[in-house]
Symmetry: C2
Subunit: 263 residues, 2 copies
């Protein structure tokens, strides 16, 4: 499995990905799922990937390879992030088309999903999600984030905390809490967590961080969050109803409680 998340905030973009891949529980390895393309002052682009590793690697390699053909539209010369998402979707379709019959013959899932975001000089930062079919959607202020892979465990905290006006530092904390929740509930998501930030209009990427197993900051976030939750939890008011069993038939709700037949 995989967990990747990217946020589009007024202050910039945040990208994070785990590194665990597996082909069955007996074949687990660590692979980077984040790929960055940068031409400072002109464009910075980050791709996060989830799904079949050969398909995602092939599709991003194809994007990179096309980038060497300067006479054609490629990731280094297209004028918008919309075009970049289209290029990536196209490469994904090419790989999928080529590999699907062979993978399906062995009942292997060919599915692969990407998040791609960044900024190209002349337009604002943008964030897209590319589906396995190669079609794609763009993040908006209403939903300023995308997740791929094992998305559900880590979603509630993002739903609660992330707004377009959230700062990059707050966003990083939120992303790490989201990873913490995901890794507690799904062992197939694992460290290191790669994380990178982008400041709106800087046209230069921040330093990439790779938080490995035992990373001090991540451990601190994880344990403080856990303690904090316990504190909040303990402070919640007790239920107003009496929990120990004193059954009061006058409060029964339909359908009525079933009782044994009179014999």
């Amino acid at each position: 499995m995989t967990y990747c998340v990217a946020l589009k905030l007024n202050a910039g973009l945040v990208f994070a990905s785990d590194s665990r891949t597996n082909a069955g529980v007996d074949q687990i390895a660590s692979f980077k799922k984040m790929r960055t393309f940068r031409n400072p002052g002109d464009r910075v682009i980050v791709i996060l990937s989830s799904g079949n590793l050969s398909v995602t690697q092939n599709a991003t390699n194809l994007v990179e390879q096309q980038g060497r053909q300067a006479d054609k539209s490629n990731i280094w010369n297209v004028p918008s992030m919309f075009d970049v998402a289209g290029l990536l979707g196209g490469c994904l379709r090419e790989v999928t088309h080529r590999d699907r019959p062979h993978l399906q013959a062995s009942n292997i899932d060919v599915g692969a999903t990407f998040i791609v975001g960044g900024q190209i000089a002349g337009e604002a930062p943008r964030l897209f999600m590319v589906y396995s079919e190669g079609n794609f959607i763009e993040a908006s202020d209403n939903t300023p984030f995308f997740q791929i892979g094992e998305t559900k465990y880590g979603k509630p905290i993002i739903d609660r905390m992330i707004r377009p006006e959230t700062s990059l530092n707050e966003a990083i904390k939120c992303v790490l809490v989201s990873f913490d929740s995901t890794m507690r509930s799904n062992v197939s998501v694992g460290m290191p967590i790669d994380i990178i930030c982008y400041d709106t209009n800087s046209l230069e990427l921040g330093t990439e961080q790779s938080l490995a197993e035992g990373d001090e900051y991540f451990s601190q976030i994880s344990s403080l969050w856990s303690e904090g939750l316990r504190g909040v939890f303990a402070s919640l008011p007790e239920p107003h109803w009496v929990c120990p069993a004193v059954h009061d038939p006058s409060t029964d709700i339909s359908p009525p409680i079933t009782e044994p037949p009179i014999s």
Copy 2:
């Protein structure tokens, strides 16, 4: 969709279920997914259901109907909760066998899952999950809870908070926080939330609560939890690295950041 959860604690059992059912987003209704069977002093049994509504209703109705045939093994006379889970699994198989061809002909999912728990005089409280195939598993101290339906959003808080020694009141709070997280992230899970507690060895059910939209206690839990999380979140330490973009190539991690080809 559905969200149901049941906990098996030293102090007793807690069962909770939402009430939203839908056949497509344009056909949403409210149905109770909790059914209780009680013969005070002898046995109390609670069934929570998820999946195809006709299948779950038919299976529990069959269990209830068999209970009127006193000369046969039924929910009122079997000596153990293990037998009750087996009866429910058998009824589910009967309904599924009868309806599957007809539902599949219309591409309708026949899947249905149950949680069933309670206590029968002579043994300790027990909790089971019955899969759509009619087979079943029992909760243990290692994993003292089961969830069915939309299980993921609400799982992290249960993973963090629930231990066999958790009190019933703490467990109720945890269950409500779990529902709050689920309902924020999935609109197909909705109020009222039915909740019922069982005190170990009481052989009598507590009063059933139905928390409807706008319920004061639930709203209080929901807003205090949200505020509390924000407080904990704000107190988390800032990342130790500088987020704004100052790219330091010496810290780059392989595979290297891709730069445009030199033309």
